[in-house]
Symmetry: C2
Subunit: 350 residues, 2 copies
Amino acid sequence: MESSNEEVENRQIVLRDYVSGFPKETDMVPSKTTLKLKVPEGSKAVVLKNLYLSCDPYMRNRMNKADGSSYIHSFTPGSPLVGNGVSKVVDSGHPDFNNGDYVWGITSWEDYSLIENPESLHKIKYTDVPLSYYTGILGMPGVTAYIGFYEICSPKKGEYVFISAASGAVGQLVGQFAKLMGCYVVGSAGSKEKVDLLKNKFGFDEAFNYKEEPDLNAALKRHLLLAQYKSFFGLSSHSDGLKKSILFLLISHQSPINFRYFPEGIDIYFENVGGKMLEAVLFNMRNHGRIAVCGMISQYNLDKPEGVHNLFLVVAKRIRMQGFLVFDYYHLYPKFLEFTRQHILENKIV
Amino acid sequence: MESSNEEVENRQIVLRDYVSGFPKETDMVPSKTTLKLKVPEGSKAVVLKNLYLSCDPYMRNRMNKADGSSYIHSFTPGSPLVGNGVSKVVDSGHPDFNNGDYVWGITSWEDYSLIENPESLHKIKYTDVPLSYYTGILGMPGVTAYIGFYEICSPKKGEYVFISAASGAVGQLVGQFAKLMGCYVVGSAGSKEKVDLLKNKFGFDEAFNYKEEPDLNAALKRHLLLAQYKSFFGLSSHSDGLKKSILFLLISHQSPINFRYFPEGIDIYFENVGGKMLEAVLFNMRNHGRIAVCGMISQYNLDKPEGVHNLFLVVAKRIRMQGFLVFDYYHLYPKFLEFTRQHILENKIV
């Protein structure tokens, strides 16, 4: 579609009203309006044709009525949802953008968007990968994983990494970065299919379905012991028969060998979940462990968030817990892009 | 008392049994034994005459039955309490220590102690200050304050610092270090007398009695607004009449000026308390704030610690929360000693 002075039909997905509890399909309403595919005379705006739109966990927070505690504005009821997308510039009043450019960044859930301040859009440099990658591995979730792991976690080879919501767009990539660095990686997810993906597609050493674990603390302890035994006996990650025998030995004998020869817990926790999971992880962190706090998705739909009762362990174990938002790190995008694209081309990450 | 082969009477304070809830006086029992004031032939031990013993908050944790979550061993029921003290060496088998040396470090609550591994004792270099200072401002609490503030908080001039349990041995010194750096400092404590000490003796800008604040969140907000107004109108910390007028204006008009011209919250929280206080502080932290977690004394006597429900703010505000233990930093003791002693001699800290 070329830029034009004519108004075209513009389909939108509009937020009906603020949401509390789990969002329902009826909270989002299809709607129609029209838009002129030309920027206003003299403005520095751009008009985008939106090609891919991404639905990301942080958007849940923007559906709440603002209470002053959020880091970004709430959505406006009656207006289209706003999120990351990949778009094509159809008209531009801005010197940095030309018609036909592909961009990724914050746009609206509609066919066409008029962006008044396009400075925060990222121009897409490489189109030899599918454009949809820029809503994922090469877009906001990708940078989040990269920053969270390399800048916040201070990772070292051989460290023990745990990732919650590990099959999400961010978690799956954190796990792959951690494997590239030679860490031992365990993830949690919410279904057998996701757990299989983590182990078979993304190369996690282990993964478990948190919904099948009545005691998360015990689940983490089991995986720590397993990791430690594998390391002691020099087992690969996927020797399943042996693994089961060892687990059996372990559970039946409660061998004290663990406490003498093996590391004591999780070095790095990549936190996407919060609440009970964080509490269980704190019990299993190692001294001088680091927690990169990327999100707390288990809490977003609760009116009253769960309490975390064992924060004293932050002192006892000298833990560093660091919240971060990817927006603060977009200046590192070019470095991230070269690094990640190279590894995609070499089939080292997927 | 010279070293001698004779056994001398040795009074002790013994832990009766593990403690749950608030410790009572009867949990600690006076007792007597005897000790030979001579180290065993060929050992590297020292015998100390204990001059000053310090009762520090972290000791409460050592009175619990070990559950694997603590960073140090529990005390042994039937044995004397163990803590920091200032002592004189009365016999030494260790090349680093001579009879007559003064030392500070971990000793037992008794007249004389045989220390098998004296390597962790600190030899006292300066005796031109009262020796008791080495249980406080020049000892473990002093190093804790120094490390916690300068190494963990990454402080900058003009930042807004809040300290809980601020009249404690650590808190009062953190406040003074923060004032030396040109920060605005508010502390909380548990009585009017302590609050007065903070403001009049230790130079805090403001202080409040948390027991008189049914809503800690509101108390912190009030102090933030006060700080901001003082800064805006160029008021000194102690103009009490004006302060009251401003507070009145502030409360009666709920002026929106705050949100446009003033900083948004606490830059640095020095955490000694935990629980509800931490929750209230998180609501009032500024983006990119830092929390040095030194202790969580409000939780030590609880069977079930309080939950902290608003940890999502760690993400939203990109907060760094860092637990630390002074034991990891004793190599910085000489640097701390020169710095702090100098400021004591110049009457800049008390």
